[in-house]
Every structure is written in structure tokens, then in C-alpha cells.
Amino acid sequence: MIRVENLSKSFSKIKALDNVTAEIKEGSIFGLIGSNGAGKSTFMRLLCGIYRSDSGEILIDGENVYENVKVKEKIFYISDDQYYFHNGSMDDLAKYYNLLYPTFSFEEYQRLREIFKLDGKRKLSTFSKGMQKQAHIILALACRTEYLFCDETFDGLDPVMRQTVKKLLAQAVVERNLTPIIASHNLRELEDICDHVGLLHEGGIVFTQEVDNLRLNTHKIQCAFTSPKSREDFKGLDILTYENRGSLAMMIVRGDREKTERIVEKLQPLYSEIVPLTLEEIFITEMEVRGYDSERFKN
């Protein structure tokens, strides 16, 4: 399990993370979402022990990660722009990882390489961007670590490969209790695979929740009334966004579906509809609540 408590990190005068507290349980796939510059990559690098925090604590299985080789043996980090040795091949990297990761498996490496049909002796610099991503995923999985940190790893993969990777990750979660932590802007991808998500915004964590809970507890409501209603009329609802067009009210609310339905029905709408939100819609809504919406970028 990963426990993050009151984590803060600044770069000169820029506060990248401010007092973040979160928990990631093992054996689940954790999606890290957030606006641009929210601090996702910084958070990942802190979790991997690359950066040293200014304050707070990161505990992986109860131990601090920074400069802790024992803990680092349990984690693998695939950055958004992963490094490979100059003129090096996949095989070269495999040998290198084998030196450092006690759990590295050449059998697994060969098996995965065959699935992806990548030449282990070919220089990585001659691979396409997507193939390089595949190579790094293969190597990461071959390390058989307990935690896998993926920073925008699905970017550049074609749909078939994305699906393959998702399957492999899910398989590893089931078979060996792998905990992948995936940072991405592509929320549709995360929706398919993640069972927990955390939302980062302006250096702070907004929430961490199970994806199913999040989706079941956030609803889009459209209802029509004989006379116009204001936001205040919907007492008892945790309204995230509210829009009124004449007698038609549209809102996104957080909370139990049945309770929400009861409150709306009490106001006797001519028509009402409650629909679940996609992760992307939830993200946009949460961002809008925090003043981060497309409106602010208009003239």
C-alpha cells in the first residue's frame, strides 16, 4: 500500500504539490488525473523516489521510498519520455534491469516481446515512438515489480496495443497483485481499466475514490417544471453545476441516486431524467467547480 501524508514540493517559487494526502491500495489500478500542470508527473516522481519531498511522507508498504533501495526494487517507473541507452537495444536494457531488479524475469521478457513482436536486438532509437512505448512496457512488466508507475504511457499506442497493454496489466493485477498507477489525460482509457482514481488540481488532491463509486454518486439531472426553478429550490442536493434555461433545469449533483431522485420528485417536475456521467464528464465538472473550465479561456 502507498500512503502519502501532507506531501509538499516546490520548484523555486512554484508550489508543485501542496500538502497532498492520499492512499493507494495494492492490487488495484489507480488512475491519476488532473489538469495540465496539476503536479501529476511531480507526484509520480516523488512516489518513485526520484524527487525528494520538501515536507510530508511517502510510505510504500510502510517504508520511506527516497533512497530506499529495498522499496525501489518493488517499483518501476515508466516516464512520459522514457530514457534508453544511446544506441542501446531492448536486450541491453533488459540486461541492465536484470542487474538491478531481483524479480526481473527473462522468460517474461521473451514472452512479452513475442506478443508485441519486437526485435530485442534492434536499436531502440530506430523504433517508432509507439514501439518504444511498447518496449518500455514490456521491460517494465518483465521486472515483475509490485508497483508500476506509468506516466502518460498509453499515449502513442495504437488502439490494439492499448487494449493489449490493458489486458496485460489486468492480468498482472490478478496473477501477482500488481498495483499500476497510471497518470493520463485520456480519461476514457482510465475509465476502462482503473478501479480507483485520484484527481489532482493546482498541486492539491481533490479526491481519491473508486471509479464505480464516483460514477454511481455523480449524476446529471435534466428536469422540466411548470415554472422556472432556482438552485436554491433543490435543497438537500450537493449540486456541482447548475444551469437554468427557462423552465428546464440541468445540474450535476453528487450523492446517492435514490436520494437525489426523491428530492427531485418532491418538486413535481413535468419531466426528469437522471443519467450517469463518464469519468471525463466528472473530471470536467470537478474542474469547473474549481474555476478551471473552457469559459475562462474565452476572450
Binding site: 524527487y51 533512497e67 533501495v69 517499483i75
Partner: protein, 739 residues
Amino acid sequence: MTAKDLKTKRGLSFKYFSHSLRSYWWLGVIAGIVYGIAGPLVLWMGLASINNGAAEVLPMRYIQAVNEWFHMVGLISYYIIAMFLAVVFALVIWSYLHSKKQSNFYHSMPISRTALFINNTLVGIAINFIPLIIMYGLMILVGISYAGASAINWGWIVVHLLRMFLFFMLSYSLAVLAAQLTGTVLTQLGMSAVLHFGLMAFLAVGILAMQTFLSTFDGNAAFDKVWYLSPLTNFVYWVSTEQSVRLEGLYQTVDGLGVKWTLTILVITIAAFALAFYAYQKRHSEKAGQALLFDFTKPIVEFILMFCIATLAANAFLEISGKFFFLVGLVLFAVLTHMFCQVIFNKDFKAMFAAKKYLIGFLAILLLFFGGMYTDILGYNDYVPASEKISAIKIDLSEFDRYGNNNYGEDANIYTDGNDIELLLSIANQITDKGYYWRNSRLYGNELLEGMDSERVTLAYTYITSSGREIHRSYNSVPIDAFKADFTALYNRDSFKQVNYAWLINAKVRELSYFGVDSLNRTIYQQREVSAKLPYDYRWENDNNQFQAHYGEELLNALKQDIMNRKTSDLLEAPLYSISLEFKVSPEDDYSYNTRYRYYDVSVYPSDTFTLEVLAQLEAEGLFVTTDYAYLAENIGSLDIYQVDIERVGSIKNVLYGSYQYKDDVTELEPSLVKMQTVTDKAEIARVLALAINERQAERMSVFKDIREDIFIGLTFSNVVGSSSRWDMGLVLPSGAEI
């Protein structure tokens, strides 16, 4: 961190090390090629080129060549290459610190920074020493194949290998430290340069500034110590010392200065590695790619650069235009250095005016420093310690009777007698009270020295306090006339002579291996020297003029007596002879002529009766000509008496020594600068000859007597066999002589 902890850290395994080593195989190949060319190939080519000479002498020549090569000559390049490669390897091996991508990669791996640091450091050492040792071995094989195994001194081989390791490690430790403090190639190289030369350059420029501003600052004493502060100049110093002391240099590693020096290098190396290790632990991965990783280094680097650049530029401006432009140069180049540093630090041209507070602060420090020196706010120039505070004064007073003092060694020329100290202090106090020392004319003008038409000397005092502290002051261009009474009193004291002529008074007859006599006033074409080979040593020079050993002994004893009897009044005369003496002072196995022999030169004045008596005996042996007929008036056809315009030329000495417009002959002067009158009357010629002295005598005149600055006399011979009609050497007049 204990050794046990380290072993448990992943990455310190031999497997990881050999993996790292293999990944840098290409660096090893490059090093091997460089060492291969500089070592075995050049030696082979050198030995193959030895083919002239008889077959029986060739083996000896091979042995000699191999011997010299492995002693030092051939290995200098290895030292230089090793030190150069140290910087290159540090740059390549630690290059991942310049890239965020690579830093993130390595620092995400399950390997501790400690292990990574040790591993990378060891890789750099191995990648240098594996090819070096291979090529060193190959070089030995080449040597053996030509000269045989007996030509190889295995002691030297080992000592050189250890020293190469020492120098490489010194340079490498500084380069590794530079890598940890910086985040780009440019700044790493710059920081390496700063760490290698910064302190030395900073102090050297500081000394230069103090020399310019503080008129009595003894730059030579300070410069001697500065060379030790850079590994490279330290190496150059060592090589030059090694070359001169030869075998002695090897012994120095086990005793004396060598151990202290070796330990100093070791301490610096260990300290640099320790700092580098600490910096690596502390550096933030996210700062990769930044110019300097630790903010506190920025003002230090900037100030070192600013001080050196601005001071040098300001000095150049001072030399060109004067003190106002010194200020212009100082401020201008301080600002430019600041702009340059800020652009480099921020990797942004638009940041050239960033950190203005630093600029203002540094400018204030510079202005205070130079302003303080210009006004001598601390009274540096005038400071003379009170006599009760000092236990001795070290001063070289060889200027009194030129060529008279040749004392060697650190302990030479130290005056401890209370009266000598009082006299020396009295002279120093008078000099400072009256400001009788040269000041930089560009800064202060020369008005203090004007009107003092007198012979001048430089007096470099080292005041030694009772606690052993040394205080240096150098008074330049001190006019002798102003202190004649004190100088005379000092010179005439026995205790003074015991120190000033210690080399002669303490000289041992059994060590005298050679003497030569040069009659200064009797020759005109060339030195008509009489040389004596004494039985104590082998010399390869001509075997003519063999003397018995007792002449050497007599001469030495006579000189000792005359020196002790000599008064300043005796030094008003021109010297008649110059006697050169050579002593063999070090053991048989020292083959260096610089340390095995000591050479001295002493002038003989008309008052030195004992010495003149011995010389007369030598003349009586028929081996020594005391009268050169060329100087007889009847052999001289005419005298050309030149009178130069001293207002414009300064002094006839400027012409004789080539310092006036590169002229070294009075006939080369423009006609407007010189008037010439020819004397042909024999009686008049005889009268002038009686007054005149020749150039070589003039050169050796004591400081108590000068020559006339305006007169030069050329000789034209009428009937000297084998001579040309023109003169080779001219005559001058002592001051006060009228013709």
C-alpha cells in the same frame, strides 16, 4: 554508512561495475590510442632513430635513451594525458546529470546514490588506468627490447605509476566535484577550470593588484606560494623541480618535502571526493540541466571571475591610459562579467541584468578593496615592525657589491645580530618616512623620486617576528645616496659580513672543485680567463692551465681575509678581477649539476691585497696575463669620446644594455642625441685611459659608486696584432671623473 551497509546496496556488485565498464569501452579505446601513441610508439620511434655512431656505442646510447625516458622525459606526456582525461571522463560519465530524462531514469532505479557515485567514480578510474597500465607495460617491453632489462629502473617505474595515479586522482576528484555542482556541459567545464585554477588565479590576480597599488608589497614572496594552489601548476612546478633535481626527486617521495607534498595532494583529493559525494547526495534530480545546482556557488563563482577579469582589464586600462581608466575598466568589466555569469547561470540572454544586488555588492567590495589600497588606509606601505617584535631580518644585500652575495637556501641572508637589525630597521624607517621607494607612476606619479640622481637598489625585507611569522616588504628603487651613512655602517660590520658572505666565509677548501679568474680591466676582445681544474672532480673542459690544489686553497683563504677587511670606501674603486668558484657540495650519486655543484662569483677590488698577491703568484707562473698591451697608449690610434644627450637617452647604460630603443651601440644613436670628439694625441689618450674603466668593470661597480651617465669612449687601435681597427669593448668614466 558502514561497509556492511554499502555491500547490501544494490549496484556495488562487481557485475554492475563491469556492466558500467563495458558500456564505456569506447572511452578506454580512445585512452589506449592516446597512451599508445604517446608512449610505446614514440619511444620505439625514438630508439629506432638512434642509428648513427659506431656499433659498439649503440647499446650504451640505447641504455641512456631508455634510462632518460623512464626517468621522466618520456613520461611527462602520460601525466598530462592522465590529467586531461580525468576531466574528459568526469564529463562523459556524469553527463546524465545534465539531462532531466537521464537523471530521472537513473534515480528511479533501485540503486542508491552512494552506490552509483562509487560505481561511476571507479569506472572513471578504471577506464583510465586499464589502458594506461597496458600501454605502460608495452612501453617497458619496447625499452627492454632495445636496451635490455637492466636498463629499466623498476623503482622509477613504480614511483611514476603511483605519481600518475596521484595526479590523475587529484584532477579527477576536482572534475567529479565540478560535475556534482553543475548541470550542463559548459558549466561543468567552467567549474572544472574554476576548481583547477580558481584559487590560484584569484590570489595571483590579487597579488598583481597589490603589487600595483601597494608599493612595498613583495609580490615575489607571495607568488612563490600561489603556484601550489593549482594542481596543474603544481604539476608543472614538480616536473621542473624533478627535471632539475633528477634522482633527488625520487627520494623526496619518502622523506622531506616529498612526503608533505604528497600528503597535501592526497588530502585535497580526498576532500574533493568527499565534497563531491556530499553534493551528489544533496543535489536535486529536478535541477538537472540547470547551470549551477547549488545557489550558494553562484556568487562565489561570479566573484572569482569578476575579480580576476575586472582587475586584469583595469590593470591593462591603467597601463594604457592612467588611473581614471583603471576605474572605467574595473567597473565596465565587473558589469560585463556579471552579465556573462547571469546569462550562463540562467541560460537566458535576457537575464543579463538579473541579480543586481550581487552586482552592486561586488562592485562595492571591489571599489573598497582598490580604494583602500590606493589610499593605503591600513598604512601597509609605511609599516615597519618595532625592533622588540622581531627576532631577525632576512634581506639579500648582494646589490652592495654586485656579484658578491650568492648565498643559497632558505636560511641564507638572515641577520640576527641586534645592531645589524637596528641598522636595517633604521634604513627601513627612513625609507618609509621619506617615501623613498618607487610607486606605480600611472597611479601615483614619480615625483618622489625625481631629482634624486643616485644609484638605486631594491631592498626586499622579510621581518621575522619572535613567533616566527614572516612580514614581507619590498622597497624598490631606493636611492643609495640618501642612506649612504647607514649602508656604510652596516657594510663595515663584521656580523653583517658573516651573513652576507656566509657562502665564502664558510666555504670548505676540500669542496672547491674549480676556480677561474677573469681580469676585468685588462681585456678588450673577450674574456681572457684563466681557469683551474682542481683534483677534486672531473670536468670536461679544456685541460690547459692546470693548477696545483694549493693555489685554490690560497685563493680561498685570501678572499676570506679580504672580504672581512673590506670597507665601503674600498668599493668606490672599480673591481679589477672577477673570480668564479665552483664547489661540489652533494654526494657522488647525485648526477644533477644543479644540486651537486654551487657556483659563486666575486669581484676583486684594488684593496683586496691578499687576493691580489695570490693572483700575482699565478702570474709569476706564467699562466696569467695581468697586463694587456692593447691598453697601452702607444697601441691606440685614437679615442672617440661620445657625449649623449642624457635628457633624452636617460643614461649611457640604457644604450650599453640595449634598453634605449633597442640600441646597444652608441653609434646607432641618431646624430642629434650624441656628440663625438676624436682624440689622437698620445698624452691625452694616456690621461683618459688612466681615468677610464671598461664596460665590464662598470657593470660590476658597487652601488656606492656610479659611472658618468653621459660619456662613452670608443677605441681605435693602431698596431695591435690580430685586432680589427674598430673596438669591441668601450670605456666609460666613473662618476666625478672629468676629461
